[in-house]
Symmetry: C2
Subunit: 285 residues, 2 copies
């Protein structure tokens, strides 16, 4: 259990984290940082926290655990402000979906202080966003990848793994670069493909609204995610994502050629391979 946890940013993940920490009693006190007065006010009314702060320095004072839950492109700037004021021996983490750049920045910022930074990526998003959709169960049975650099101490790593496990997550440990490569394929490519599909049908909104079955609805669901948030994620992982897109286009070429040539057996094998992959995933009822 932590003495005091600071959650930076009351979006979907930050708010859900506050609820889950309180529900499971993982901290004696919970402080949240919100940038605007309006959001701070809303947070005071809606979330069970001990303090709402608008000043970053005040928000991390006295905390042995800090979780940065802001959009991925803002994390480096926040780290720069937090590093000099973080409590001795405290652990700082984030929930960003792209890790290499952030972890490299953090390495420099934290190298000569006793607080440590270890990146986290709890894969617990949704196409919904904001405090309104906060849910303490968001984390249950979902994967969480932590991305320590070789220099991190095992004690901090254990504490961090333990924290995410207490929230019900299944934890993994990867290097930041490896994490970004894998996420390009398993998370950012699916998001982009779903968005491309929506984009390609978007001039037929009225028809699609009436004539869509569960197939279309499932496939485009994640394309409903916050465009600003995802612009940050896809941009920051651009190079890996373009490589993943190459793989997708290779498969697309195969499919088009099979379909054009009316090769029924090959089409069936192609679909069979896809179906086997889908069946190998867990997380379906």
């Amino acid at each position: 259990m932590f003495e005091q946890v600071t959650v930076i940013g009351p979006g979907l993940l930050g708010s859900s984290l506050v609820l889950a920490i309180q529900e499971r009693g993982l901290a004696k006190k919970v402080v949240i940082w919100a940038r605007s007065e309006k959001t701070a006010e809303k947070t005071r009314k809606k979330l069970p926290v001990d303090r709402v702060e608008q000043d970053l320095e005040n928000s991390v004072q006295g905390s042995d655990f800090v979780v940065i839950c802001t959009p991925v492109e803002t994390i480096a700037a926040i780290l720069k402000k937090i590093a000099p004021i973080a409590e001795d021996d405290s652990i700082v983490t984030d929930v960003g979906s792209v890790k290499a750049l952030i972890c490299q920045e953090a390495k420099n910022l934290f190298k000569s202080i006793s607080a440590s930074f270890i990146g986290s990526h709890p894969m617990a998003g949704s196409e919904k966003s904001g405090m309104e959709n906060a849910d303490p169960k968001l984390f249950i049975n979902q994967p969480c990848i932590i991305t320590p650099l070789a220099s991190e101490e095992e004690l901090g790593i254990d504490k961090l793994l333990n924290f995410w496990t207490e929230l019900g997550m299944v934890t993994y440990r990867l290097g930041p670069k490896e994490h970004d490569q894998k996420m390009a394929l398993f998370s950012h490519l699916p998001h982009l493909v779903s968005s491309i599909l929506s984009h390609s049908i978007s001039s037929h909104t009225e028809d699609a609204r009436q004539l869509s079955g569960q197939g279309l609805r499932d496939t485009v669901r994640i394309s409903g995610g916050d465009p600003n948030l995802w612009t940050g994620i896809l941009s920051e992982n651009k190079n890996n994502l373009l490589e993943s897109l190459d793989k997708f286009e290779e498969s697309l070429k195969v499919a088009r050629s099979i379909l054009t040539g009316q090769q029924r057996k090959s089409l069936c094998s192609f679909l069979e391979e896809a179906a086997q992959f889908k069946k190998s995933l867990k997380g379906y009822e």
Copy 2:
């Protein structure tokens, strides 16, 4: 209410249809046709029907309503056998996902008899298949498109629309060719794209099993559909599907170019357009 309904084929749709008809009392008697002895035996044990027949002629005898629930490429052959033996003034329909070819065939087969064929497409599939997954609620709030030819009588059309409405479906009426064009875009393209995505990641099964979030799982869900069934559907609607795939590839080119050029504003607009489309669909909780 019908005197006697014959359901041809006890797959997911046929079995669910039997359950829904019985639950809502839409027929005095329900007969089902199953091809193999093994399936017929299983059907007798599992489904609440008055008769299970393996002979097509016996199965439609005495029925004023016949619903063909077999894979799309088998429907024309079954229609050829049923047309000469269908009861006078009976209505024959099917549940195939592609309509132009079937309706053209049926037009010739039914032109000089008093039974009539009107195509139906209840969009109530799932990535699951088979009698084991039968569910009388499968149809509720899902779209059902009927595709009468200009020559069909309004009385039969009304009866058919009424039947699907009684099962909880939201009915639409389209010409067979128009139906196939729209389904290429709203159903067959999403299936193909989902399968291409699965195919392109399928060499990373073990990693994906561990590191997949809800986004990947939603996007590849329909790629788990029966490969044989979908080979038939995609093949039969090949030309329309290739045109839809052209549209998808146009959007893909735009996305790739924006991403490569690091055009953040354009990327955000692209994702915004996709998100707006997703939000315009109904059927989310």
